[in-house]
Symmetry: D3
Subunit: 278 residues, 6 copies
């Protein structure tokens, strides 16, 4: 692998991926909309760019082999707010990747593309889209885009539907947790697998209570190592009785399944930044 | 039914729906981006509006019970060209419908949302999205949008995936043809069925060679009457041997499955305007 | 066919089956708990008996080839009320049929065995049980009983899940209607088919809006002739907007899906006795 | 269609196909192992050849567009007896068709490729092979062969799994009957459909009691017209009680499901030659 | 968890659950039909009661959060013998739980609800009921009851289909064994999982030869630790050739699949009481 | 187990199975077409025989309990070359096994029976046949043969579809590798499982990237221990970019999926003989 591009490099998940990705290639081009992402790793360069600008993405992807596309507005918000970075941004990445001759897009998709399925359904990677938010709807859009670029133009893509990659602070996360180490393994597998076509895989750790089915993506060789069960006693002791009629508890999307469309859903998800210290 | 709205009323399919819809309600509000759609039917009024403007759609949908949403750029074209009318336009319709308290959106979706499935697969209405064009991608987007507004806000929608509603001029159309009478029946059923939730149904006539499976939408009671087999002898006699490796022949999307993304696909589809005379 | 037994012969559906069944065999033994069922048809005899008594059923089934088991408390009611006729009664029929060497039980089952499935799901005959009432629960019990007697003892059974066999007086019935003629055809097919093993089939007419899938029972050759669409214009004109969050409208069981367990559900179903005059 | 080849032209089904096939092409080359097949139809020529000889088949298929392959030893028999005509013969047809550049093989397959499935299972065209005889095993072989030549070499094939194409003389045939007219329609559709890839379709008439599922082959447009129900009253009146533990009654293969491997099964199937007079 | 109820506390499995359940709550109310269950654990009280009495169950469940329902006649027997404890008893538990406002019933169901499925079928938790005995039929009844109380009244239930929880003394048990530790884990998970709706899960250890599929219940987080393979060499050495036509060997229910209905099946199952010493 | 027969004892896989199989029975009869297979293990005898001769196989199988059938021409080649050993040879084994009263055939089948399925499809053991070569076609034939002998004659068989049992020298083998130890475990389980009926199981190690689904064969208790991931870093570092349009990379069959029919495919598969030293 000569040249790899990482979008959303200043974001929460992107920033964790910079170091391991830099080690996988000769040159890692990290990109985001901010001016500066701090000290660079060996082999890493930074290229500022706006996802909503096709010209920017054409410039950033020049000469690359693959792109890991993590950049997006990372919360539920009004459709108008997500239109540029999350919808048009995805189009720009795929179109630039095609025009620049990349082999593959590795995409940070989300459980929120299918978040309205009941949690008691063990959903696989071919279940129909049931987005829970505009945020999830943008993930659906990018998956369909990836399917089309593969079918029509032979551009591969792996869609990593991340469940919840943050500190385990509630009962849902006992099932949905994706540790940083497992995120890194999943991203690496998505890059190194020689052929992938159009693939979808859930980003979840080896939790006892993992509620989704990755069997159809077995060929990717993703075998998570971490298990949120280590937090179960503490979390369950703190959890009062939950209302089984509340979509926020009964659906895969969790709080996003019950949040009002267009409103921020992050606050209720207890996402904090010190996850790495776990 | 007191008030019904029809978008795309100046378009090819929209114009055929004006009369039958006008008969189904006290007031039909036809809307399109043109200044004038000619003589109005009894009970019909015309309201000019731009799909890409949420304000316009809020104005047009005020007081309505349901909206039949046929408006769109009706061909494959560059993503940037379809973004306004087909993507943002769909959002505006659903958002306005929700805010205005409508019960249901009846949507003119398309086979092109799943056009890359092989024709030898008898696809049902829950098969995963495989769009063949940006045009089809916009249909996927609207279907996912409809799913979300139903799950989150209780706004119903019926997504009529029309196969090909035009004169039968090639072998594919022997299977994919939707006659105007059957289009009208399907639209009526989608409106009059008391409860629909989120539903998808293929718009195809009762052709001997119909290649899609509507069984999961049986409760809608759509029973098409026309059959393209009446044109088979003539069409097959004119059809030379077809290349079974050509996606345009082997996929449900037909010419859209082989057209270059962003290029017009209509020319190759032999769509002509005198269908009604069939 | 020498001797056939009909239980519930004094009931609404049973009384319609007496004449056609009498024509299918040398002797029809009609049975019910009442003293008298009026004038008998040629070849018919009447034997009073209590379903809840195994002795009675042993007596009634003696020498018979098959039994058509329609007898039951025909409404939702408290569990204690249904325990005798509907639960124990079914056991008595199967046990007596086995001990008396009958070849088959033809059973009047009901959509209420699966009534909590959403109407937008096109349920087939192998869908899991989701009873909507104690009445439906008794149908589940009898189906499982029939499965066991076939697997363990080779006693065949056909379970006719009747949707609604009554005058068409509401929108649900446009899909769920079973005409008397089609009930008769279904019962005849269930009797005359040479081998059936354990089979389940929906009792519904050839309605445009029929919401259930009989394809897995195709070998029975049941091809209904009547179609409730003839009543659609009138019924739909009278039907106001329906609440799509109401289980009584969204589930296959109709009013039974929303009735309180143990309460009569018949009143809300507009079942009247003059159906035959339709 | 310029040139079509028909194998097994002297056989029972082949002889009925000669006339309609001759009308579909400029030249029909009929072939069989006998010296003479009687008076030829307009456009028909006869070429004697042995299926078990690749050289013969290379000669016969020269210049052809398609071949309708009906030739085989048409009964159950010892494996050694079927090896030449049914197994090696099928290989020779596909290999010669490939080498001679034909577009498609239309093959007379049989229900006996899946004859051990219980009749109460409504089997579709993708159900796994469960042959009931060496005769059926040869059909499995040819289907797998056709799958491979399509996947590897782009040679199309349609596998018509004929149920029972003979006079209706027993209860099984009420479901399994294929009339000659419907056989002809099916063969025509299999030839004229512009692209088919590798396809399987059941050859059965529009019988009320048809026990197999052709929905996955819908794109072929096969819509049978005849219905064995016209014979039901007579046949059922003559049919005594059948043993539901007998595989010959409970499996799709009928008598072939209970016949000893290697023994003739035809005698028990009441196949007579005057079917055309029905 | 403040108050938990355990039925069948004097039974074989119930007695093993008393101690671990007592540790999970402030008060464990153990109940059974005997006068006395011996020394009580910390936090445990005993309340004598008859499952067949709704009044008794209303009294016992008062103030409880959940009930673990293990009480039943624990063998195959005549229907009349099981009617009270196993059928009516299950109704009484669900009805009392509903009236007393409990959140959930955790139920000791059994493989015998689906015991007639062939062992070579890897059955999941949604496979259709195929009971092998009246004992299994009662389990089907309780599952359907649980489904209904969830759909109609929001009362949750987890149905633990136990395979064989006893010493490993025959070849079947190499696949079907549930160790006591795994039984305890499964019961704990069924209690502590915050929301479950209506769920079914197989009670089987992590045996190499486990023949059932728990994937659809993954969200419960049941991950068994024990493996009967430790007994394989000894057991297989003692096992003579088995008859593959014997339902007792070919079906999931084991000896119950071949026992005569109504007769005790336990003797043939080698169930002994010293399992804990394993 | 008194007497076991191993065919193909001189072949690559057969030679590894001789020792472990000799330990499982009183007498192991090894057979192959060569004169001599070297030093025999304790309890082993050698019987020369030709698979293509039914007489030979009748002689070799006399008195045996089971046969492990590994003998075949072990590469792709012309149909004529495989007809004797691979097709007729399989028939001879099953027929002789039946006539000699054996309980079971354990068969060395292959992924090449289904090799044309895309690798991104996680194929289970009931997926339809899609052979990639004549070699694979012979495996399909033997599987169908085994199905028939079970259904018609009660002769059991286990079909072990081996993926690639050789040194790991390319990226495909990271998923498809079957170690010798796991081959031995799989063969042992196939022999010792008391009842198997007709079963299919994939022969693949516990590789992170294993692309096939053995869940339906769970009752066999095959739990592979080895994992090709140990070779991943080295192999992936040596692997250049692969063409995702190449069937040899995109299909389960690997090189056999792209090799010309009838040509040797082994050269391209990097199979070497020193696997044991791994």
């Amino acid at each position: 692998m000569k040249k790899l591009v990482l979008t959303g490099a200043a974001g929460r998940l992107g920033s964790y991926l910079r170091e391991p990705l830099a080690k996988m290639c000769d040159t890692l081009v990290s990109t985001d909309i901010v001016d500066d992402i701090g000290t660079l790793y060996d082999g890493e360069t930074y290229a500022k760019g706006d996802l909503a600008s096709l010209d920017d993405m054409m410039r950033v992807l020049e000469g690359a082999d693959m792109v890991v596309h993590m950049g997006a507005y990372a919360d539920e918000g009004p459709f108008e707010k997500l239109l540029g970075p999350n919808f048009v941004g995805a189009y720009n990445i795929w179109e630039a990747a095609y025009q620049r001759g990349l082999k593959r897009v590795v995409y940070g998709s989300s459980i929120h593309a299918v978040g309205m399925h009941p949690k008691t359904d063990f959903i696989d990677t071919e279940v129909r889209h049931r987005p829970d938010t505009f945020y999830g709807l943008a993930k659906c859009f990018a998956e369909d885009l990836g399917s089309m670029y593969w079918d029509k133009r032979g551009l591969e893509s792996v869609h990593m539907r991340i469940l919840s990659c943050a500190q385990v602070t509630n009962a849902r996360a006992l099932g949905s947790w994706l540790s940083y180490d497992d995120l890194i393994q999943l991203t690496q597998r998505s890059i190194e697998t020689p052929v992938t076509g159009f693939s979808v895989v859930y980003g979840v750790s080896n939790n006892d209570r993992a509620p989704v089915d990755n069997s159809k993506a077995s060929f990717l060789g993703y075998r998570p190592k971490d298990n949120a069960e280590q937090f179960a006693d503490k979390i369950l002791a703190e959890t009062g009785p939950l209302d089984s009629q509340d979509k926020g508890h009964m659906c895969h999307g969790g709080p996003f399944a019950s949040v009002e469309l267009g409103n921020s859903g992050v606050a209720t998800m207890n996402i904090v930044d010190d996850t790495k210290k776990i």
